[in-house]
Symmetry: C2
Subunit: 227 residues, 2 copies
């Protein structure tokens, strides 16, 4: 069964809480969702397993993993084993920031969207309860949308790309409530920057703290945490 | 020996005529050049061999090859073996266009530059004797520069990225003359979209035609062509 191109979307799927929610939101809007994850040398592969589970449970039409052999870049605690993931709050842009990550992810998503004939790219960035990364800000997303429409054959020929970030202005608690209302199984998701070998969250890193705060404010237990 | 960050540059190096010229131009400006090539599933690997030779001969400080495992994207005659490279002129955006290629390349270059502390990204795009790709236009480059300064920690903290495209408004003949004046050995470069197994140019594809026209107009023989 084919769908109209304007009902196809590429959804960036990390396997975390936010991306599981945007998949559900895109499906709610009626999009045929082409989920895209990245193996970019992140220090734990648990998030790719989580992404596959989330894609399957969330009704993605397909799920692809793009491999980026860019290990020489380094520079982030998420990819460089020589740097430690902080286990307490820090100020400023944190060491877990991966240089230009969202730009690379969106660029690959754009290329795939162009081939699919899709014009909607969903990304689960958030400017409220976020980690202070520059490429999660509204002005960054607007600049990428402008770029996308200049960069591509589809843009030049009248197609109109949209960078869709429906979580941008939501708190973590609001994101969780929205997802629960759409039946998202957050037990499949993994947000932690530094899980143990069994894939269990550390509970102390920035991502774990934001997630715990979100579930606490939403007034529901986190199903991913075995008590 | 270390150099000031403002004298480091990332240079996108395909191994073709244009990228060999920008490496020479960046070196002339005194930059320590970090050359970057991509293995993205292009149908011939000859250009990566050419890039390595050009980097060495052109005085690059280092040369890295980023591997992009994005074969599922398809959609271009340069990566998809099911599509033929045209051997005669075509109109419109050609089938050799790789979706979002320059966006992906510049995004990875941006990430590397941020880690290196470089703020200058050199790219050999050209808006005169070019193949009609949307991501070779001045407005595209300007949009990427805006994006780069929003996307990055270095941008937010006051660093200022520059997308440097010194060939943008030159004809192919002017590019060749500039390179020859800087000692570029064009015998090492490979421009062809569809070389034979021995790495010899086909002479008929769009890239070969533009190159031949350039050398003819410059009034010099192409050293890459064995007579």
């Amino acid at each position: 069964m084919s769908v109209a191109d304007d009902k196809k979307a590429v959804v960036l799927l990390s396997g975390g809480l936010d991306s599981a929610t945007i998949l559900a939101l895109a499906r709610k809007e009626g999009f045929q969702c082409h989920a895209l994850s990245f193996d970019y040398g992140q220090r734990h592969k648990g998030e790719l397993k989580a992404a596959a589970a989330v894609a399957a449970a969330g009704g993605a039409h397909e799920h692809r993993v793009a491999t980026l052999g860019v290990g020489f870049i380094g520079g982030s605690a998420l990819t460089d084993l020589g740097l430690s993931v902080p286990q307490a709050p820090t100020t400023g842009i944190p060491v877990t920031y991966v240089p230009a990550r969202n730009t690379v992810f969106l660029a690959v998503a754009l290329g795939w969207a162009e081939v699919l004939g899709a014009h909607d790219l969903f990304i689960g960035v958030n400017a409220v309860d976020y980690s202070g990364y520059p490429d999660c800000r509204p002005e960054y997303l607007a600049a990428f949308e402008t770029l996308a429409n200049l960069a591509t054959k589809a843009g030049v020929e009248g197609g109109r790309f949209h960078i869709r970030a429906p979580l941008l202005h939501l708190t973590k608690a609001e994101i969780i409530r929205a997802g629960l209302g759409l039946g998202v199984d957050y037990g499949l998701t993994l947000s932690c920057y530094a899980p143990n070998d069994a894939g269990q969250a550390c509970g102390a890193c920035d991502a774990c703290r934001l997630r715990a705060k979100g579930f606490a404010e939403a007034g529901v237990p986190d199903p991913a945490i075995a008590i």
